[in-house]
């Protein structure tokens, strides 16, 4: 579809675990992209995208200095590193998954790509 883009067009990511909680950092390629994701990539967007993980709460933190948004997905790892029944026990793949999230295409997309 031409009116949406995968988030990975304008951002990269990294994810991992803190006990049974996952963190998913989404980092824009530049300031224009950060301004856009700050407005459009919200607790609701990310929480809904990952709703099958069963997080008890989703929280967003801003790190404007590195054009990053850090999402905490509490209790989202089905037990965490030692107890999870999933192959991705530590949420390492969540960062790649979130880059596939379809977002409305920004009007000035060319200013945000790498």
């Amino acid at each position: 579809m031409s009116d949406t883009i995968p988030l990975g067009t304008i951002a990269h990511s990294r994810s991992g675990d803190k006990g049974n909680h996952a963190n998913v950092a989404i980092i824009a390629f530049n300031q224009a992209g950060y301004d856009w994701i700050k407005q459009h990539v919200t607790v609701e967007t990310v929480g809904n995208y990952f709703k099958n993980l069963g997080a008890s709460k989703v929280e967003r933190f801003e790190a404007a200095n590195v054009w990053g948004l850090n999402f905490m997905l509490y209790d989202a790892l089905a037990g965490g590193a030692s107890r999870s029944l999933r192959i991705d026990t530590q949420g390492k793949a969540l960062g790649q998954a979130v880059l596939a999230m379809q977002m409305p295409k920004p009007a000035d997309l060319q200013t945000m790509t790498m």
Binding site: N65, L85, A97
Partner: protein
């Protein structure tokens, strides 16, 4: 005072690249080599090893690394090492390190041992003294799991590491310390910072955090994986400090990988909660305060770190026994592979139920059909299962009853003849049964924990 300080991390976790510390020490022009071995639950495994053998319970990979480092230590006598390889038994680790050094003729090397993190022998005393060690996530009282606990360790700060370095240690072996302290300790010692130089402590904490996972700062997991130079020869990270705490992240010349704004930004936010308040025993570091300046040529400069006073409480990591787990896999090939795999998984669990075995928790995954990240229907990889011609079936169970989990491991092989067509890949034998240790995070008053230094 020295004008610069180069600290490199050659190990990000127990199981990391065993050549990395040797190459980094050889090529990195380092003042300090740090080696980080302890993940959240590593201590529980080490605690059990120590129960069986009082001379075990540390990350023994370190000893192999130390043997291989001997020529480098002889060529670079100023090089020092800080490591948490001591795990649950820093003094036993130190004794072995001592023997290796003596055998190599490095008798003059002083090995400092940091202890005081192990709260397990003191648990009842601490509970009686009014330290509840309540679960930080759930609010539950420790009494709920008291009789199942196998380890309890406070995260020590940098002070005992600095004490050991001031007394002349060449190698400092610790148990549980906050990971960044392996970097913060040397910086405080070499630059003579004070314990209330919050901005400097914060900067060194950022550096320690950036390098603690090894190659993750130097091109590992980078989004541009297909254009990362010489990926197989990835260089491990170095923090090159100036006395005011500012530093440059880099890697050895002629190594592979990459250090740039993206690799550093991604690692800055890795396994972080609120980046404006990263808690360690030394300082509350504000990762959002730093300025990141990509200098090019695999050099990224970090300046302007700000920090708040150290927290009153220390984090405690407790592990307790939580039953048994096992998982097994089979490859499923042909049309409707994902559906066939799911069916095979259900058949397996149904057979166990008929044999009298049920499980507290079970999970069936169809790897290749969207199971690695279970997104909602319509998410990537979860639609059009009928089109997928091969998946890996993975079934996992968890229960307190070990016999039930053992029986589970015997149910994969029969599916090779009794399952859906296209079932294959049973070549690795029966899955193993693992004892499960659950994680219980807590806090404790700083005054209840004393880091100590001993010598080997």
């Amino acid at each position: 005072m020295r004008s610069s300080l180069r600290i490199g991390n050659g190990c990000g976790f127990w199981g990391d690249n065993v050549d990395a510390p040797i190459e980094l020490a050889r090529d990195g022009q380092l003042d300090y080599l740090t080696l980080e071995y302890l993940a959240e639950l590593t201590m529980s495994i080490l605690a059990l090893l120590k129960q069986r053998d009082p001379t075990a319970g540390y990350a023994h990979d370190f000893l192999g690394v130390l043997k291989r480092l001997v020529p480098t230590l002889k060529a670079q006598p100023q090089l020092k090492i800080t490591t948490n390889a001591g795990g649950m038994n820093p003094s036993a680790c130190g004794k072995q390190a001592r023997a290796i050094l003596d055998q190599a003729g490095l008798n003059q090397y002083k090995v400092g041992i940091v202890t005081g993190d192990d709260l397990f022998p003191r648990l009842d005393e601490l509970l009686a003294a009014g330290h509840p060690l309540t679960n930080l996530d759930t609010g539950e009282p420790l009494s709920k799991v008291r009789d199942k606990i196998v380890s309890a360790n406070a995260y020590l700060g940098s002070q005992p590491i600095v004490e050991a370095l001031q007394a002349g240690a060449n190698i400092v072996i610790t148990g549980r310390v906050a990971d960044a302290c392996l970097t913060v300790g040397p910086a405080v010692h070499e630059f003579g910072w004070k314990w209330n130089d919050w901005a400097k402590l914060s900067s060194a904490t950022v550096a320690g955090h950036l390098i603690e996972c090894g190659a993750q700062a130097t091109g590992g997991l980078w989004e541009l994986w297909d254009s990362t130079p010489d990926f197989a020869n990835v260089g491990y990270p170095i923090a090159d400090f100036t006395p005011n705490g500012d530093f440059v992240i880099t890697k050895p010349k002629n190594s592979g990988g990459a250090v740039n704004r993206q690799t550093v930004a991604a690692q800055l936010l890795y396994e972080v909660n609120n980046p404006a308040a990263y808690y360690t025993p030394d300082v509350v570091s504000d990762f959002t305060s730093i300025a990141v300046n990509d200098l090019g040529q695999d050099r990224v400069q970090i300046t302007n770190a700000q920090g708040q006073p150290a927290p009153e409480k220390l984090k405690v990591s407790i592990a307790y026994r939580d039953g048994f787990m096992s998982n097994g896999t089979l490859a499923i090939y042909g049309g409707n592979a994902a559906e066939k795999a799911r069916k095979a998984g259900l058949v397996l669990l149904d057979r166990l139920k008929r044999a009298g075995f049920t499980y507290a928790r079970t999970n069936i995954e169809t790897i290749g059909a969207g199971s690695v990240v279970p997104l909602s229907p319509g998410g990537r990889g979860s639609g059009g299962e009928g089109e997928i011609s091969e998946v890996l079936l993975r079934v996992t169970v968890h229960d307190q009853n070990k016999a039930a989990v053992e029986r589970f491991t015997k149910e994969f092989a029969p599916l090779v003849t009794a399952g859906p067509p296209g079932t294959t890949g049973y070549t690795t034998g029966r899955p193993s049964v693992k004892e499960v240790f659950a994680y219980w995070p807590a806090l404790i008053d700083r005054s209840a924990v004393q880091g100590k230094v001993a010598w080997e």
